[in-house]
Symmetry: C7
Subunit: 254 residues, 7 copies
């Protein structure tokens, strides 16, 4: 499946291949694609997260495999990929937020946080003696809207959504996905997303997009849902997950 030439460059993260690629980073992206998918959608007032997290067994507590995390009350993260790596990055983000809050009396903005996490990841791709993180993150925040920003003047908040990939690059999106089947999910989001979306519509969009990632209908047991808005981070319990799944046209009961 690969040639000898490629092998020569992909065993250590610290070298470029002759055509200027970093294979270990590309393989870490494959680790992300092996993970269950997560979707983020920025609506007019909120960032909506939906993620697939199928328990391996009915005896597993589904809370313990959550894919969407409250970082700080004002920041949320969804992850895909190597679970243990993702946990370390979520912890890193949480500690960064706490440190900033202690220092400045307020939580960090979503952009500084996304950049701090991205820096941490980029280091893992350049410094010797470590491998890249096999995880991608969606980071959401709802800073107060600045009047000067275009197209957000109607509301008091300016919901923002960042994706951070295994190379350590942060990019901002209106709606995107990471993990298994994310190309199909993103196609669905590109086709259906409209600016000015309200939050219920955003939830339905996120869930219907997530459904594109596999052949199976999402169920309340296997889906994580959270809304981050001016009121803070709100993780949906099973009843509410069933409701929003029904709203999105799925029979959410498992």
């Amino acid at each position: 499946m690969q040639s000898n030439d490629q092998q020569a460059y992909d065993r250590g993260v610290t070298v470029f291949s002759p055509d200027g690629r970093l294979y270990q980073v590309e393989y870490a992206r494959e680790a992300v694609k092996r993970g269950s998918p997560a979707v983020g959608v920025a609506t007019e007032e909120a960032v909506v997260f939906a993620a697939h997290a199928r328990p391996r067994s009915p005896l597993m507590e589904t809370d313990s495999i959550e894919k969407v995390h409250d970082l700080d009350g004002r920041l949320g993260v969804a992850t895909a990929g190597h679970v243990a790596d993702a946990r370390r990055l979520v912890d890193f983000g949480r500690q960064f937020a706490q440190r900033e809050r202690l220092r400045y009396g307020e939580p960090p903005g979503v952009e500084p946080l996304a950049k701090a996490v991205a820096d941490r990841i980029q280091e893992s791709t350049q410094t010797g003696g470590t491998r890249p993180f096999g995880a991608a993150l969606l980071v959401g925040g709802v800073p107060e809207a600045s009047p000067a920003m275009e197209g957000t003047a109607e509301t008091d908040v300016d919901p923002r959504l960042y994706e951070i990939d295994p190379s350590g690059t942060p990019t901002e999106w209106r709606a995107t996905a990471v993990g298994r089947g994310s190309d199909a999910v993103r196609d669905h989001l590109e086709a259906e997303y409209e600016r000015g979306l309200d939050t219920p519509a955003g939830l339905s969009l996120a869930l219907s997009a997530l459904a594109e990632s596999s052949d199976e209908t999402p169920t309340a047991e296997e889906v994580d849902v959270a809304v981050l808005d001016e009121a803070g981070f709100d993780a949906f319990d099973r009843d509410r997950r069933e409701t929003v799944l029904a709203d999105a046209g799925f029979d959410g009961a498992s």
Copy 2:
């Protein structure tokens, strides 16, 4: 049994394979599967542990090969896999608990402890110059129940059980197993476990599940049994092990 391509990626823990896998972590999972099995069951008031620990010789003191450990009076751990590695992780957990107790005047919760151990393990899979730990852990605790938690309101405690695997991922379970034959054990648990189980029933379930891991009938000499409840960590002596084995339908005498 394996191709040249695979060999290229599994000799160092710090690299991903082209399809995004970490082979060294997968081989550490094999080391766990080579170890004698351990079962954990969360009942209404307790976490029950049962583990297989066959002495290599009648001259070996069976206490010295114990598989179930009292961490702190309020936390228990059962292990499977490379014995020396498991010991280090149990020691790490014990020291973490003592440090927390000194700092806060009370033992850590089961979740913080499980996460601290999981972090220690994840580091061993990413940092250069070390190999993963070839051991998996079941960590149990009986924190006081918070009223808000669903399904635990009837009792004063909220028994919780975590599994930590060689990748450093903690997951919460109602009942699970690690080590040799753990798939068969877990099938048995999935078939027989019911919420609201009392502790005697939990003990019987743990022992009958453990029996699925091999063709031999468990005996009082070769099985470790412990119950962690509001009263603390209680390791069963041989007489009581014989009793619970008999209760579970086995002739516990060896």
Copy 3:
């Protein structure tokens, strides 16, 4: 495509090949050539930057993939290549500028900054345990003109433009480009550039040169434009980008 002999020397940055080459640095240059292009033009009063930054999806916020950065109000940078690496170098430059400003009460000159960034890059090519940065930078500044400098006496500022490549070599230019298709862009600049260019003409030149890097017409959505002059760093918003694209003979609307 390459011989065994070459392979022997290109896996580690710290060795010379028999003919005195550093292959890892050359491969990092390939990483630059894979990145979207950036153009810099020094005019009579300003440094003009134009860069191609095509969003991967209509849902991606184009601001988050900006290729032209305000370092310090008086210094600007455009980048090409591995995005995460470029970000680190931009951050390094920003921190250097802040440190100098704190120390001396004024921002650093463009030359000291370019040399500091170049030193940082050269270290990455000689020190063990790290790879080169897969990015090239255009650094611009508008120091006050010194009377003694030839050909700049007519204005109060002396716009200067440096290119820094993956070997860590800074070179000064009147107009140049980095990234995909930069050879074609530079050919265009060499043919069309004239000393004494005013800024609107410089903007048109930068955009028409950038257009040489690919077969597609540049659009306001996919192009970053900024002007650095005595008044400071000025990043153009979409309306102004459309205007200058139209001035340059393109239909800038996307």
Copy 4:
């Protein structure tokens, strides 16, 4: 004798093989099996050590190749395997005992000492840049008996015997052996050992078991004998060694 697949995993201690084994630790066990044997027997009041230590030449001082060591007056160690490695571990144990004695005013218990030595060994199997120790240890101690312990109530001391192997696992035994022919020695011990053994009987058992490790009759010159009891560590001189060999049915003179 071994396949290419195996070779791939046994050259560095820090990697698991695909089936979850640590070959370097297994090879260190082979180094132990190449060393002359040592036997430990816990009697009612003492731990008895006997070890084979054949001098390479009649000119060699047999004291200098002693295999049984007084750690601290209250703790004894017998070793097998790579001699220089064993010496380092004995020294480590001795220093640990002294440190504990300084800190607490009394020597460490046999279990803490065995665990400290085991930790030191386990580290050598996980950390990069070092090899495992090619030695196994038998550690004995005679702590005061606690009334709660089963089967030891008749005496004032509770003799305990630990084996520590090259993986860093400590196990407790009533009687065991390490080194060349230890399987045969242990078979003999299993067949002949009885609880409640007095010390003279223990000495005879240890010597007759040791005799199983080779075809040659043990002689006073080639055997180390020591008894650790409430009175302390007592290494037998040649006359007493001849006596106990005679008691065990051997003609101890050499």
Copy 5:
């Protein structure tokens, strides 16, 4: 072009080959031979430098690729080879000179400076984890003549010229060259140089020697010229470069 035997020795700088050679240093010399040439000539009162520095593009500021550097007012350096490496060495020399001046109130002599730079280079050839510098330097100075020195009694200064090669060996010359075509340049110098040369004759000799390094006639735009004498370091501007090229028999205009 090279055998397998050679390959075994040229991948790391820290090993000798069986015939006692350091291939990495020899390859660094190749890097020097790939760089544009520089010539140094010691005359009766001065050290004259001339160097070829062809801009890659007419848009490149030729000042930014200067090959002759004023170190300290009393010391000059010309370089050939890997540009980024040469810059580091020039910076090192400049800092050494500043440090000495701070410490002793006067600039260092040319010999101590040359030796300090040479030490820095030698270290790079022996210490692990680094490669040699791919650059050679010509260092000139005009210390006051000591009466005791032979052949310099007629003037007040004693112009001295050192070459430092990639092995870190400093050698003193009356006239020499580094870089592409330096063998041909040096042949010319050997044929034409005479002791007691005055500075105008030295300039002509340097330029005619430089012309031997390639087939093209040197032009004022592509040549760096500087004179270091008792009055200090004097870099020629373009007009003066045209004049001295004409004096040397070239039509210096470009």
Copy 6:
């Protein structure tokens, strides 16, 4: 001469071979066997050293290739093997003796010194990044006899002789040899040595044993002789060497 399997384990000192051997230590023993031989004999009142040290040329000062060293006035060392390595170990021993003397007001005993040197050597065989020492040592001392020691009651001193090999194992001898032909030398010693030997007889024995190491007759020029007794370390000059050679039946003149 060796198989591929062996090659796999002998290139780094830090790994065991599948049969539990450390090849690098065994090769260091070969380095010892390539060195000229040294003999030590403990007599009733002294330790006698004799060593072969053939000068490479008549112009070489034989003192500078001495093989027997006065460590401290009360301790002596003879060496065989890689000369530069042996020198470092002798220096280490000398510094250890000085440090102990400063600390306790008296020189260290021969056993502590031998163990300190042995520890230093053992470390070189286990820690990464270094090779074993290619040298073996004979260390002698004349501590005051303790009445309790058997067989030494007749005299006031208790001469002791240790051999330290490249694995870092110290062993005590009455008489032994290291270096080229040491097996033959030791055979001779075993055949001829008797307890209670006086020093002149010990000298003769040492020299006749040394003669067994090669086909040539030892001469005063090529042999080092020293006696360490209660009076201190006494290196014989050439005249006395001729005398003792004659006493031993050789014509010592060269």
Copy 7:
């Protein structure tokens, strides 16, 4: 020229070959043999040095390639081999001498200095991450004669000459040589050297011996000559070199 077996052991300095050799040290000896030769002769009152140092070009200042160095006024060094390595060792010796002089108020003796340099070299052969020095040194000194030394009683000084080779072994000689053709030079010295030589005779001997190293007659331009006696270190200028060459039977003019 070499087999596969040898290759396996000569790529890293830190391993022994199966027959106990250190190939990297042997290759460093080859580097010495590639260097121009140096001769040292101890006379009754002095140490005489002569060395071949052919300039690569008639324009090269021969002073800058000197092979004989004044360390401290009372100590001299001649070198052969890799020039940059030799320079580092000469510097090390010079610094050692200065440090000792500061500490004790007098320069170090020749033996301590030779041993300090030898230690520095030995370390480079055992510690990982560095290569041996590719240089050999002749170190001379003229300490005051101690009456007890044999054969030096007639004069007030005791001239001593040490050779230090790439293994880090110091040996003392009456006369010896290092570098290209040193075997032939030493044969000449052995044939012609006589104890009690006065210094003019020593100079002639050194020069005639040096002439044996090549087919060409030594000339004043290509030979370094120095005498170290009670009066200090005296480097000969060209006139005196011509004189002593003529005295030695050569036509010293070049």
